[in-house]
Amino acid sequence: MTLPTDSLQDGYAILFQNATYRLPSGTPLISNLNLMVARGETLILLGRSGSGKTTTLKLINRLLDATEGEILIAGKPIHSLNPIELRRGIGYVIQDAGLFPHWSVGRNVGLVPKLHGWQDEKIKARVRDMLSLVGLPPEEFAERRPSGLSGGQKQRVGVARALAADPPILLMDEPFGALDPITRADLQREFRDLAARLHKTIVFVTHDVREALYLGTRIAVLDQGRLVGIYTPKEFLKASEPEIHAFAASLHSGAAGEGAQ
């Protein structure tokens, strides 16, 4: 199922209503999360390791199912949707890219269109467009194996693969987290331009404050599975909550050094 963009007209793309996710042992990883992701925005999920950012992301494409509460996409509760169909309509990019090492770059990018049953010619054309879009000349890259790519190139392929079936929603889990600072800065800059052009609803997980401020329309801060608050980048820098202060302080002290460039 491709989630039709026009069905998102009620303003929000994704809505968390009191969503809780517990491990089978009963320990909650996410507690009573209420969160609205507006159509076309880039919402950053910011938090320390173990704050529940990735769990929140996986609740959206049902890699995990909320144990309580409800999540709606385009007005429909996602537990009523077929998870396979739901995922095919949502782009997904993870830190290690997760490219299939036994497939060519082109076949990797064409995965979701293939799952949708597109014709081979249409897939080929789409793969060429997507590789060009992320700055990888298709004639040079389409036939190569992922093992021959640099970290930055792999992530570009990961983004191309996520965008290939033109999903209205894109989930990104620290996509640039494992890259060297210079490559990361390049990809962040290009991705910001791309996001502005494509009007996708993007949920982006990071623990890097600079990245959050640079890419985010709004920043949702999570701590121990709870939502601390949602801020625009400007509000974030002025916010008074202690949890935000810790993050803001890391900007100046360089304590979150991974983000420094």
């Binding site: 396979i84 995922r87 095919r88 997904y92 993870i94 997760g98 090492p101 036994h102 995965l111 799952l115």
Partner: protein
């Protein structure tokens, strides 16, 4: 009479024994694969069962082959004297490497790759056939290779319970106290094992390169 002269003189019987031997191995491997692959795949999601099933297969393998053949003779349906009992025993031996390598091969596939496959909307079946099995193939084939080589060797013992094969010459040589007759069984068996193993090894390498 040297062992190679024995082989030449008894061409017709040697040919028959080789065919019997290969038949035993092929039938046992087919059964071991038919059980080992699905059970190995089934085990991937079940950490609790892995210990018991792989441990059980391990225990089976510690039973000396001659003893296992002996144990099986009185068992109803599968037992008795002849090829079918031998095939049951050989299948049990071949099961462990196949089962274990199927399970471990799939478990060792990069979790990021499997997660992205699921996240892209592949069905569990698509993830298994298009991602997990192709990536586990080199490990899986290594298990099949070990099992086959072992099967070819252990199948010589099957002659003790009347299953035929190249072991017939070995037991005949033992009875005759004639080393050349023993060699006439052992050398072709070793030759087959080496040939099949290197053939599978070549195949394994070409799959690993993809």
């Amino acid at each position: 009479m040297k062992w190679y002269e024995f082989l030449l003189h008894n061409r017709a019987e040697v040919f028959q024994r080789i065919i019997e031997h290969l038949g035993l191995v092929a039938a046992s491997m087919a059964i071991a694969l038919a059980i080992g692959l699905p059970v190995g795949i089934w085990l991937v999601q079940r950490a609790k069962w892995q210990r018991w099933v792989i441990g059980g297969a391990n225990a089976l393998q510690t039973i000396p082959s001659l003893a296992l053949f002996g144990f099986l003779i009185p068992v109803p349906f599968i037992g008795g004297v002849g090829a079918s009992t031998a095939i049951v025993a050989l299948s049990l031996y071949a099961l462990l490497p196949i089962l274990r390598n199927t399970c471990i091969g799939i478990l060792e596939v990069d979790p990021a790759v499997v997660e992205s496959a699921r996240g892209m909307g592949m069905t569990p079946r698509q993830v298994l056939w298009q991602v997990q099995l192709p990536l586990a193939a080199p490990v899986l084939l290594a298990g099949i290779r070990v099992a086959t080589a072992m099967c070819i060797g252990v199948a010589t013992v099957a002659a003790a319970i009347g299953a035929g094969g190249l072991g017939v010459f070995i037991f005949r040589g033992l009875a005759m106290v004639n080393n050349q007759v023993i060699l006439a069984g052992a050398i072709p068996a070793a030759g087959i094992a080496i040939a099949v193993d290197s053939g599978l090894g070549y195949f394994q390498k070409s799959v690993g390169k993809r």
